[in-house]
């Protein structure tokens, strides 16, 4: 493929995809010049064919689930059913103005109401709000609810959120967003939380704890009930980061583990697309304690019709999190997926995701790779550490990642969680075949062989991607964040 120039570089003054705007420009004679724009915005001036060709070509530069195995740990890159998209994009769903009367949106509202019920069933919780727009916003909502609960009890001093060191960055960041302090506790050698450290950490300032279970270390926190007792006894509540809910779907319920609130990344467990960065949906589910505080709006049912419940109906709510209702179109996609799967299908998600992860981890262990927690059962994901290879050859986890790209695989998550050196966090998901997993094992073995044989060659990877290894330092030092035409004009 030829280099794909920036669309700005393909622009010529006066060119237009003219069917998309009015044929003439309406005269604006009622407004003073002082409120009007002087120079037109510097948008590219291109034809429709140029646009189609440019973005079609750009798309081909991406790896994606639709083209590659993408075992990005913690991110759950599994097949996104095309029908979820097709149905969510039916004109009858797309045309809904968010402020139209409820009577006009019964088809949407019914679907969202059903989704709320399905999510209650999947978590064991008693209340759901669909409005958070991603996992991180679900976390925000959860911690805000915990705070509101404490405050409603008149307990104003609980400002600490306990977070294990393996936690995703959004957990401590969320604590800060909510005005809390994040208290980090260490992980024990077996991957479970260090219970003694937890005991030391809790106290009258404890608002709650955020846990991912299975954790981002790819193991199930076995002493979760004990943890719940400790935190509850100290007066705190438990937050379940549901990024890994796919690992236990239909096998265990966050409610059963003692959690008070959970967010679910629908774009992970319920297979809505990642879209190159979003949108997602980070719905929250709570037990009855926290129900009054759920963010609004929520879908209710009144006299056989579905209605949006808002401030008047939910006076204790932490409030709104978005201009309207959050990412409705994503919610519809998740709903379609859940209806396709049904109860059995959901249970199979956790079963086969775990099967694939354990198969891959067993095969990699047999091939001599270092599994981070070899004594543990892998959940839906697991970690290998390349520390030894790095020591012996100088090849890093990053080198392995880049070499995988050349072999037609997206890389696993690298250097996360932070506590495992030179790690790859590998999540194959249930939608990949055994044959694909075998090919992945073979690729990793080949790369390791290359590391020992010719690490210089390995460090030249990737060689088949549209660009070779990029200079990140330069990117951050010599900031170039927007295009400026060299000549000042576009030509």
């Amino acid at each position: 493929m030829r280099r794909e120039d920036l669309i700005f570089e393909q622009s010529r003054p006066g060119r237009r995809a003219s069917t998309h705007a009015p044929a003439t420009i309406a005269a604006i004679d009622d407004l003073p010049a002082s409120v009007l724009r002087e120079a037109p915005p510097p948008l590219p001036e291109v034809s429709e064919l140029q646009v189609v060709r440019h973005f079609t070509r750009l798309s081909q530069l991406n790896f994606s689930i639709d083209t590659h195995f993408y075992p990005l740990g913690s991110c759950t890159m599994k097949y996104n059913p095309r029908v979820s998209n097709t149905l969510a994009m039916l004109p009858g769903f797309l045309a809904r103005h968010p402020l139209e009367p409820d009577s006009h949106a019964q088809g949407v509202l019914e679907s969202l109401f059903d989704l709320q019920e399905l999510l209650k069933a999947a978590t064991g919780m008693s209340g759901v709000s669909l409005t958070p727009m991603a996992g991180a916003q679900g976390e925000f909502a959860g911690i805000a609810m915990i705070r509101a609960w404490h405050l409603a009890r008149g307990d104003t001093g609980r400002t600490q959120i306990i977070v294990p060191d393996a936690a995703h960055g959004t957990n401590p960041a969320t604590a800060s967003m909510c005005g809390c302090e994040a208290i980090e506790i260490p992980t024990g050698p077996d991957g479970d939380v260090d219970i003694d450290a937890l005991r030391r950490a809790v106290g009258p300032k404890t608002a709650g704890i955020m846990l991912t279970n299975p954790s981002t270390l790819g193991v199930f926190e076995r002493r979760i009930s004990e943890i719940a007792d400790i935190v509850h006894a100290a007066g705190g509540l438990l937050y379940y980061d549901g990024a890994n809910l796919n690992a236990i779907l239909g096998r265990a319920l966050p409610a059963g583990m003692g959690f008070d609130v959970v967010h679910i990344n629908l774009h992970k467990t319920f297979s809505t697309p990642h879209g190159g960065g979003g949108p997602g949906a980070g719905v929250v589910a709570v037990n009855s304690r926290l129900e009054p505080f759920l963010p609004i709006p929520i879908v209710g049912k009144r006299d056989g019709s579905y209605v949006w419940l808002s401030e008047a109906d939910r006076p204790q709510s932490i409030g709104r999190l978005s201009g309207f209702m959050g990412n409705t179109g994503i919610l519809l996609r998740a709903y379609v997926y859940m209806r396709l799967l049904g109860a059995e299908g959901m249970r199979r998600v956790s079963g086969y995701a775990t099967l694939n992860a354990n198969y891959l981890s067993t095969r990699l262990a047999a091939a001599g790779f270092t599994i981070a927690y070899p004594q543990r059962r892998a959940s839906h994901e697991f970690i290998i550490s390349l520390k030894d290879v790095a020591r012996d050859t100088g090849a890093t986890a990053m080198d392995f990642a880049k070499a995988l790209l050349d072999r037609g695989f997206h890389a696993p998550t690298t250097y996360f969680p932070l506590l495992v050196p030179e790690c790859l966090l590998i999540e194959p998901t249930e939608t990949e075949t055994r044959q694909e997993l075998d090919a992945f094992v073979q690729a990793l073995c080949e790369i390791r062989d290359l590391a020992f044989r010719d690490v210089g060659e390995l460090k030249r990877a990737p060689q088949t991607t549209p660009v070779r290894r990029l200079d990140d330092v330069r990117a951050a030092r010599q900031l170039d964040l927007v295009w400026h035409s060299r000549s000042g004009t576009v030509n």
Partner: protein
């Protein structure tokens, strides 16, 4: 098994490799007391055909109308190419571009988006999106508080006629960090410059100016910008991205321009879709870039010296800086930005200007048509793209009658802005024709109980 490719042979071989008897055995680390046998409240799975039939019926249960409702979400033309391209699997099913070399498509696209968006608002840099207009507004307030030279202030001034729902969302999001929104004095549907003197201006980190404001009003942005800058405040522009195809961009406000611009990206090619997914945009002056939340893409070189794109300034973000990050945002609204970028290319600057101009002209025609009815009056002018009408009766029942006649007649302002009386916010985008407007005029006459010449 929907979406699961394992054959019985695969399953058996894999279990044997692992050394367990069955899949259930893989969950042996979950304490027995915590295990459940299934999800009894979830119905059985359905075939795709059955789900298609279900969802088509649901879609058909919704009711389409002729739309004169804006109030933060606008029915614009979206070229067919936009979503055909944006939903290509390679965009649709990719993750955040962590492995830059394998994601140049998404990364170059975001770089192009950042360039267009920064150009549109006339500021130096843009991020790769936030969740929506409301959260972008809240994040802008937090950013201003972090960046402000009025170091101790956690208070932010806001024009009264900013979207009331955004205000509410921002209050939720700012509460934790004890950042407070304080309303600017207003009169005549916009900020009252005269009344500013009463404020103790030293106490504020920033001022937020909607453009146009929720009522379609044009705030005195030049004066307010200079006034705020004179008091060490940052200026946050909260703008409609289509409107600034024609209106003065934030970067040109006052002597120095606004510092931060944010807003709702929906008008740039995003379907109404019950309120989401949309996307929030944010741009700022170069000096503030390290305070900006959200992902940012930068241009760099590869080892062969070829141009390439990568995520940059990640030290601002939660996955590096954790509790000290500029925001907890991780997943953003990437696909919406993909669509908006394509949309902006298809419009170009002239197209965007024309759409903005046509929206305004159509709204003027609508105002003229409706105010031709006795008792219907325009409350404020100038206005842009949206306008406030006074009705001779309470608005809610009139809107209900219009809705029954197939028309979304606008937004009732009574609850949020009681000072405006029987006030109705109306809007006619470029899609509304002269016949549509006439249809509305007749229906409004009917809804108000008048006979009208057709």
């Amino acid at each position: 098994m929907p979406f699961i490719p394992h054959t019985d042979d695969d399953l058996a071989a894999m279990l044997q490799t692992i050394g367990v008897a069955d899949i259930d055995a893989l969950f042996d680390e979950i304490p027995a007391a915590l295990r459940v046998g299934g999800l009894p409240a979830v119905p059985p799975g359905m075939s795709e055909a059955a789900v298609v039939r279900l969802m088509r019926a649901r879609a058909a249960r919704n009711v389409d109308s002729l739309c004169f409702l804006g109030a933060g979400a606008y029915e614009h033309h979206i070229p067919a190419a936009v979503w055909e391209l944006a939903t290509r699997g390679e965009f649709y099913s990719a993750y955040t571009p962590y492995q830059a070399e394998a994601s140049q498509g998404t990364l170059q696209l975001i770089y192009e988006y950042q360039s267009m968006l920064a150009g549109l608002v006339d500021l130096d840099v843009s991020n790769a999106s936030l969740y929506d207009g409301a959260t972008a507004f809240a994040e802008a307030c937090l950013m201003a508080v972090r960046a402000s030279r009025n170091r101790n202030s956690r208070r932010v001034l806001v024009a009264r006629y900013l979207h009331p729902l955004w205000r509410k969302a921002a209050e939720t999001l700012l509460r934790g960090q004890a950042v407070e929104l304080v309303e600017l004095p207003s009169s005549g549907g916009r900020t009252d410059m005269q009344a500013l003197a009463a404020l103790d201006a030293q106490d504020f980190a920033a001022v937020c100016l909607p453009w146009p404001n929720f009522l379609g009003g044009l705030e005195p942005v030049d004066e307010l910008t200079d006034w705020a800058h004179g008091r060490n405040m940052l200026v946050i522009a909260v703008c409609n991205p289509v409107a600034i195809g024609l209106l003065k961009p934030p970067g040109k406000w006052g002597a120095q321009g606004a510092d931060i611009a944010c807003g709702e990206g929906q008008p740039l090619g995003i379907p109404l879709s019950s309120g989401g997914p949309y996307f929030g945009f944010m741009a700022c002056r170069q000096a503030l870039v390290r305070q900006m939340p959200g992902r940012i893409v930068g241009q760099t070189l590869d080892i062969e010296g070829r141009r390439g794109f990568t995520l940059t300034l990640q030290a601002r973000e939660q996955h590096i800086r954790r509790s000290k990050a500029t925001s907890n945002i991780c997943t953003n609204q990437g696909l919406m930005v993909t669509a908006a970028t394509i949309h902006l290319c298809l419009l170009g600057s002239e197209g965007l200007r024309r759409v903005a101009a046509q929206c305004h002209t159509n709204t003027r025609a609508l105002v003229a048509a409706l105010t031709s009815l006795p008792g219907v009056d325009l409350q404020f002018s100038p206005y842009f793209h949206e306008a406030v009408l006074t009705l001779p009766q309470p608005v809610a029942p009139v809107l209900a009658r219009l809705a029954a006649a197939g028309i979304l007649g606008g937004h009732d302002l009574q609850a949020d802005f009681p000072e405006l009386g029987h006030a109705l916010l109306v809007c006619a985008t470029e899609l509304r024709t002269a016949e549509d407007i006439e249809t509305y005029r007749q229906a409004m006459a009917g809804a108000l109980g008048m006979a009208v010449a057709t």
